[in-house]
Symmetry: C2
Subunit: 564 residues, 2 copies
């Protein structure tokens, strides 16, 4: 029997997944993985937690669920897959269905032939083209050797100050890891906000929290890494500031590794990732690609995106493993770009489109709300969740959700991801049937309550105002009446301090005479989370006030300094 | 202006929600709640946690999110709702749109008229008609006074032994609460399993865990409560056993309170709940009903069910509040009966149909799988989840999911609830785009992996065998070959001990000669969670064995005693 020959280039996530799936579907195929690094199947998303000391056994990054290190021997014995490490594939000869490789330790060269080829070459950390980038003490956090380097720094405990360049997901995870290692951190971001998958107001809330753990500098880039004797001593910013530090971690994003594919004439998309069809097949029908090196469709916009997420790499790898054996039977539809990251005690997650992103993509009938509440009852030590929901007003389709806070963010994002991927509307979510018991949620789950708020807004029951807009109006001294409708003790404890008047909700109906007689007066109401603010607005509207707004998310979603 | 008169009968969950929603939609309506008990808006699902000492301030059961007790004064001031407590509505005169009531403290009678009436009379705990039911020390856990009674027992610390009658949700929550109060518990269930919303094998796993905390007695009912001087001293079972105890909590389910409605000629459904249409409207167009006293459609079977869940009560109340003001504009579609309960450190949840339930409902093309894995990576201290998924083979529609374990059960159940309510198929779940980062999930989320296992089974890639079936075969000494494919150290630590042979997956291909030559031999393979078991089965099948099965869920889902 003539067995099928499968070659997989890359041994991190998508590659081993494709190889393993292929093996399970065909015991007779000859399957070989060529891996440039010395390790295989690394849990690279776990690096920050290894560095931060959440666990100490490095092997755990390389283990199967049963605790066996996934090395070449494991792949051979358990899966009959030939995994060749320390070996770089240097060329693909599509005509002869052959690859060339070099052993990086011995320099030995060789070649191998395939029936089906799988490219899973991953991505590389981008580096800014500035002076001093090669100094000792400047690193990225992309490879296991990067993780080893940073973990060693933790274990040695000598370094006191570090700069993290880049306020994206990896930058912020690195920030936590190094903070836990006892290092004082400054995080630098070129853009006006952290975590660009969030809308600015949500990012601002994360920033406000992160500032309790690290120095955050926005709208500033690195112009040079300064050093002495080849060692980093400071980071120099665009505005001239020099920040003394012994370590700098550059985390300004990743680029797909496509040189090998490109040189072989494989089509590259406009995002820089390898172009694949729904079967994860390149323009060469015998060559498939998956993971961080490809681009895939965003399911909401239909446009291609580079989405280097570990979960997608695995799912894509599974599809490829099936298709190389069975022919094109499995499809990978694309992504809604669901992501989450841990920021100390906060979860920060997003799925679908942010408002900013939706506007950029040409959606011009967007409605948004911000909803804040506990994740479960106060008596069960519920923790705060803040959700921003983005919908298309015309059909009430849910386009995106961002969730942050110390509460159960991951569950909320999962719920919205299910809603968005399956084209649900706000009305579909209003009576969602989710698991309720006090140890797990409020009687009306935070996600459902968010849908209720959105439904009320779409029905015109209230108008909202964002924290940003209110702050600007307040700075401009716009004529308006501001009402905090909480209780006096809550007000005493903490307030926005922007000229608001305290009228507790329970007194509002009796104190309407304290408001201007002009029913066109702009009135803005709020409470802690804006539930009572909503009730107040309904009362004021019923009494004829035409221009009443609620501060969305209430005081807990106010991203600025508050005055006592 | 002639304001609308709304009367709500019942002030627990659905009633206040309906009244509050009505108020927000109509500032001018006259809204009155008549409440039999002395308290309003009680968080009744929180009672077990108050009794168990998760919190000590009873007021927290009655508070708004802002910490204000929701008493009559609160309803009047904050919502302009007249909430009349300690007052029982004794009759509804539909012709004259009038109700009659009695003040339970003073005996005073009165009447009131309505334009729209809302019945939210809730449910009552069922009691077995046996001797001694009125002894001191025999109680239910349904009302706040029940909770007060049990909390006092905790605080006094005198009682040593208690019996919980009923192994349903409330029974098990009560079990935990009393155990935390330092009381030795025996739980009695008439049926052959606990928690009948679970399939037997899943319930058996919960039972096995619960046995580490309490004595569990199945297939046995209470025939009498025995006492001395009016005080409980023991519970007598059907099999004659007498269990000495000073406290018995009866939790054998609840019945909808429908007497008032029935007497007024409101139609009652076959489940005993008030019949309502999709607008939560009874057969009298001016009378709506919601909460534990109604029956609603199960969205999968289309049949009416009595689903006394706190979350549904709130959602139904919201729909009613809208409809009594706006006319029939809002619909409540029904339920997929999603539920969850905390069982000490386990979460136990279910959504949609169990296999048992699906078979009873006439589905005859059911497929099921059991999948076990950690909820997040081992290096992030992931905890076990076990999921049983039920699908309709003919269209691969997901019908139900049960999830148990110390892992993040609530999130898993929420994901499946979203899938089931929105009619997703297994293929829709295979590439779900869920939030991944190591602090929150595996790279392939447990739910997605469960869909993968199901897809593999539907494609015929493997055959499963349930723990129960394997145990029976093993007891019958059926001719078969049993293979544990884990590593020797795992095997040494713990094994099923039912005659299995250890052949680690990595050695399987080399040791095929140890297997019978007859390719029709029944071979059953497993590992800890049956992932390696699956790989082993694929190998054996590739080598011609035609009758290979995997023990579903592996060793962790084995619900029986194991031998060392």
């Amino acid at each position: 029997m003539n067995s099928k020959k499968i070659i997989v280039i890359g041994g991190s996530a998508a590659g081993p997944k494709a190889a393993s799936r292929a093996r399970r579907l065909d015991e007779n195929a000859t399957i070989t993985i060529y891996q440039k690094a010395s390790d295989l199947s690394m849990a690279s998303c776990g690096y920050p937690y290894y560095i931060g000391g959440f666990f100490n056994d490095r092997n755990q990054l390389l283990c199967s669920p049963a605790g066996v290190v996934r090395d070449s021997k494991f792949f051979l014995n358990a899966k009959n897959i030939n995994a060749v490490v320390n070996t770089e594939v240097t060329a693909i000869d599509r005509k002869n269905k052959r690859i060339e490789f070099t052993n990086l330790l011995t320099g030995e060269k060789g070649s191998d032939t395939y029936d089906k080829l799988v490219i899973t070459t991953g991505s590389s950390a981008r580096k800014p083209p500035v002076e001093g980038i090669d100094l000792e003490g400047v690193t990225t956090l992309q490879s296991l050797s990067d993780a080893d380097y940073l973990r060693k720094i933790r274990d040695e405990g000598k370094i006191k100050k570090a700069v993290v360049v880049g306020g994206g997901l990896i930058g912020i995870e690195t920030c936590e890891a190094l903070h836990l290692a006892g290092i004082e951190i400054t995080i630098i971001e070129l853009l006006p906000q952290l975590l660009t998958f969030l809308d600015k107001q949500m990012a601002r809330l994360v920033e406000k929290y992160l500032q309790t753990k690290a120095n955050v500098i926005l709208k500033n880039g690195v112009t040079a890494f300064l050093g002495e004797n080849g060692k980093l001593t400071a980071v120099k910013l665009q505005n001239g500031t020099e920040i003394p530090c012994e370590l700098a971690v550059v985390a300004i994003g990743v680029s797909p590794n496509t040189k090998l594919a490109k040189n072989a004439g494989i089509e590259i998309g406009h995002t820089g990732g390898i172009k694949v069809n729904e079967y994860m097949q390149t323009n060469d029908p015998d060559i498939y690609a998956a993971g961080d090196c490809v681009e895939i469709p965003n399911l909401i916009t239909g446009k291609s995106v580079h989405a280097p997420y570990g979960d997608l790499a695995n799912l894509e790898g599974r599809v490829v493993g099936e298709n190389v054996i069975m022919g094109n039977v499995a499809k990978f539809p694309g992504t809604i770009q669901t992501g989450i990251c841990k920021v100390f005690d906060y979860g920060v997650g997003s799925t679908g489109l942010s408002e900013q992103n939706a506007l950029q993509q040409g959606f011009d009938t967007i409605e948004t709300v911000v909803n804040a509440s506990l994740d479960k009852p106060g008596f069960m030590q519920g923790k705060l969740l803040i959700t921003k929901l983005v919908v298309n007003k015309t059909n009430s389709n849910i386009l995106g959700a961002q969730v942050i806070g110390p509460g159960e963010v991951s569950k909320q994002v999962a719920i919205w991801a299910m809603a968005i991927k399956n084209h649900l509307t706000v009305d579909d979510m209003v009576n969602a049937d989710l698991p309720y018991a006090p140890p797990y949620s409020l009687a009306i789950d935070h996600s459902i309550a968010t849908a209720h708020v959105m439904q009320n807004k779409l029905k015109g029951l209230f108008k909202g105002i964002s924290a940003k807009e209110l702050r600007e109006k307040s700075k401009n001294k716009d004529p308006m009446v501001l009402i905090d409708v909480r209780n006096p003790d809550e007000y005493e404890e903490m307030r926005l301090g922007i000229g608001e008047k305290l009228i507790p909700l329970g007194q509002l109906r009796k104190r309407l005479n304290e408001l201007p007689e002009d029913k066109n007066t702009e009135i803005i109401a709020w409470c802690k989370i804006s539930l009572r603010g909503y009730e107040a607005a309904r009362v004021l509207q019923a009494y004829g006030y035409r221009n009443v707004k609620i501060l969305e998310g209430g005081i807990v979603a106010w991203p600025y300094q508050r005055e006592k």
